[in-house]
Symmetry: C2
Subunit: 324 residues, 2 copies
C-alpha cells in the first residue's frame, strides 16, 4: 500500500490541506477560511473538516494516510504540539496536536510555519541536495528556519532561526521586538514601507509608488514593490539597495558564524522581485562573509512558492513519523 500524509498550512486568514505522496506529489487539496475570530474549538473543528475533505478527495485508500503535519503561526512547542501564543489567531496555549488527533484519529505533528517552510524546501525544493541549510523568508517581517543534518533544529527555547532578530546595526531603527537594529527593522517589507513613507510624505520625494498605491502607502505589497522596481523608480531602487545591503550583512554574519551549505531565500518580497534580487543579495553577502567562504555556501531562491506550506507540513509529518 502506498504511504501518504496530509500537510496543513494554517494561516490567520485561510487554511489549506493537501494529501501528499512520498515523492512530494500533491494528490488532492482542500481550503477553508480559518475564521480566526471564532471560538478555538470551532476553528479546530473546521481545520479537521478541511483535512477530511482533502482525504476524501484523494484517489487513495484512507488507511494509506499515515500522519498529518501542520505548520501553525506563533511560538509553539513542536514536541507537545501546543501553540504557545499566536496573536493573529488570538490563541494562547492551545493544544493543537491533541485536539486534532481527537477529531481525526491520525498521528499529528505541529511546527512553526516558517520552520515548516524551510523543511519543505529541504525535502522537496531548493535544498534537496544538502544536509545543512538556513531558510530566510522576507515579507512583512523576516523569518527563518535552520536544518542541520537533515532535520529541523529548534534550539533550547524552541526559537532557533529567528533570523529577523539578528542585530546588524547596534543603535539602529527600532524593531517590533523592542530592540534596535534587528535585521527585520532594516530589511523587511515593513522597514521598506517606513522608508518610503519618510521619503515621500516627509521629504516630498517623488515615486511611482504614490500612483501604484493610490496615495495610500500602507497598501504597499510585494507585487507593488516589484512593479515599482521594474519600472526603474529611483526611490524604489534606492530603498532596495539599502535592503539588499542589510540582507547581505545578515547573511554574511550567518555565513561567518554557522557556515551552512546553503541559504534558501523566499517570502513575498523575494518571490515578487525574482532572481536579480537574489544575485544582488549574494553579491552583498560576499562583501561581508570571510574571504573564500561564499564559494562553499550556495545562496538560492526558494522553489515551492504557494505550495511551501502544505509540502513542508507533509515533509514534517513524514520525518516526525519516522523519528517518533
Amino acid at each position: 500500500m502506498s504511504s501518504n500524509v496530509v500537510g496543513v498550512d494554517m494561516g490567520g486568514t485561510k487554511t489549506l490541506a493537501a494529501v501528499v505522496d512520498a515523492d512530494g506529489n500533491i494528490l488532492s487539496t482542500a481550503k477553508i477560511q480559518t475564521q480566526a475570530k471564532s471560538k478555538t474549538s470551532v476553528v479546530i473543528d473546521r481545520i479537521a473538516a478541511c483535512i477530511r475533505e482533502a482525504i476524501d478527495a484523494a484517489p487513495v485508500d484512507t488507511n494509506s494516510i499515515e500522519a498529518i503535519g501542520i505548520g501553525a503561526p506563533g511560538p509553539l512547542d513542536p514536541n507537545t504540539g501546543i501553540v504557545i501564543f499566536a496573536p493573529n489567531l488570538g490563541w494562547k496555549n492551545v493544544p493543537l496536536k491533541t485536539e486534532l488527533e481527537t477529531r481525526v484519529d491520525i498521528p499529528t505533528y505541529v511546527d512553526n510555519d516558517v520552520n515548516v517552510g524551510t523543511l519543505g524546501e529541504h525535502t522537496f525544493g531548493a535544498g534537496r541536495s544538502v544536509k545543512d541549510l538556513v531558510g530566510i523568508f522576507v515579507g512583512t517581517g523576516i523569518g527563518g528556519g535552520i536544518i542541520l543534518n537533515g532535520k529541523l533544529y529548534h534550539g533550547a527555547s524552541k526559537t532557533a532561526g529567528e533570523i529577523g532578530h539578528i542585530i546588524v546595526k547596534a543603535g539602529g531603527p527600532k524593531c517590533g521586538c523592542g530592540n534596535r537594529g534587528c535585521l527585520e527593522a532594516l530589511a523587511s517589507r515593513t522597514a521598506m514601507t517606513k522608508e518610503f513613507k519618510k521619503a515621500i510624505q516627509k521629504k516630498g520625494k517623488k515615486s511611482i509608488l504614490s500612483n501604484l498605491t493610490g496615495g495610500d502607502l500602507g497598501l504597499i505589497r510585494s507585487g507593488v514593490l516589484a512593479k515599482a522596481l521594474h519600472s526603474n523608480d529611483k526611490l524604489t531602487r534606492k530603498v532596495f539597495k539599502n535592503t539588499t545591503k542589510y540582507l547581505g550583512i545578515g547573511i554574511g554574519s550567518i555565513v561567518n558564524f554557522l557556515n551552512p551549505e546553503m541559504i534558501v531565500l523566499g517570502g513575498g518580497v523575494v518571490e515578487a522581485v525574482g532572481d536579480k534580487f537574489i544575485d544582488d543579495i549574494r553579491k552583498a553577502a560576499n562583501k561581508y562573509a570571510l574571504p573564500d567562504t561564499l564559494k562553499d555556501v550556495e545562496i538560492v531562491a526558494a522553489q515551492l512558492g504557494d505550495n511551501a506550506g502544505v509540502l513542508g507540513a507533509a515533509a514534517l509529518a513524514r520525518q516526525r513519523l519516522k523519528s517518533g
Copy 2:
C-alpha cells in the same frame, strides 16, 4: 589496558603536550618553545619530540596511547589535517597530520585551536552537561567554536564559529578582516586598546593604565586591564561598559539565531576579569535576546584555563578515534 591519548596545544610561541586518560586526568606533560621561525620540518620534528617526551614521562604503557589530538592555529582542514594558512607560524598548506603520523606512528587528528578549546570545555569543562554549545573566547581577537549534538560543527568551508566576524554594527569601526562593525572590532582586547589610545593620547583623558603600562599602551594585556578595572579606573570602566554591551549584542544575536543550550565564555580578557564580567555580559545579552529565551540558554565561564588546549586536543583525539 587503560586507554590514553596525547593532547597537543600548539601555539606560535610554545607548544605543550600532555598524556590524558579517559576521565580527563593529565598524567604527564612536556613543553617546548615552538621556534616558529625554524624550517617547517624542524618545527614538526620538535613537536614530535615533545609528544614522545610526554609519553615517556607518563606512568602508562606506551601501547595504551591510542591517538594524538592537536589544536593548531589558522584555518585548516580537519579531515586532511592540513594547516591551510597560519601567519604566526609562516605556514601555508602544511600537512601536519601526516607529517606527525610519519614521525610518531600514532593516529593523529588536527583541528583549529579555538574549536579544540570549545570541545575541551564540552568534554571536560563547563559544558559537560549539554549537547549544543557555543564557545566564545575574548582576547587579542574574538574566536569561537560550535558544538552541535556533542560534536564540533565545522560548516561548509570548515570556518564555522567565526563569532568575531558577526557584524553587530553596520558601518562601525574597521576590522582586521577588512569589514566594518565586526564583533572583534568592537569588543576584543585590540578594540579596547584602540579606545584607550584614543582617549588617553588624543583626548588627554587620565587613566591608571598610563602608569600600569609605563606609558606604553601597546603593553595592555588582560591582566593589566583587570587590575585597572578592579582599581575602579573611570576610563577602564567606561571602555568595559562598551565592550560588555557589544558582547551582549553578539550573544543576543546568537541566542536569537541558534538558541544553543549554553554559551561558554573564555579567553584572556574573560579569565582575567572574572565572574562579574560574565554577569554583566549576561545582563547585556538579556536585553538583546528575544523575551524568555535566556532562561533556557546558560551563559557561563570556561573552566579549563591554561589546560583548555591540551585537554581539548585530548577530547578531539578520543572523539575522532571513535567516529573515524
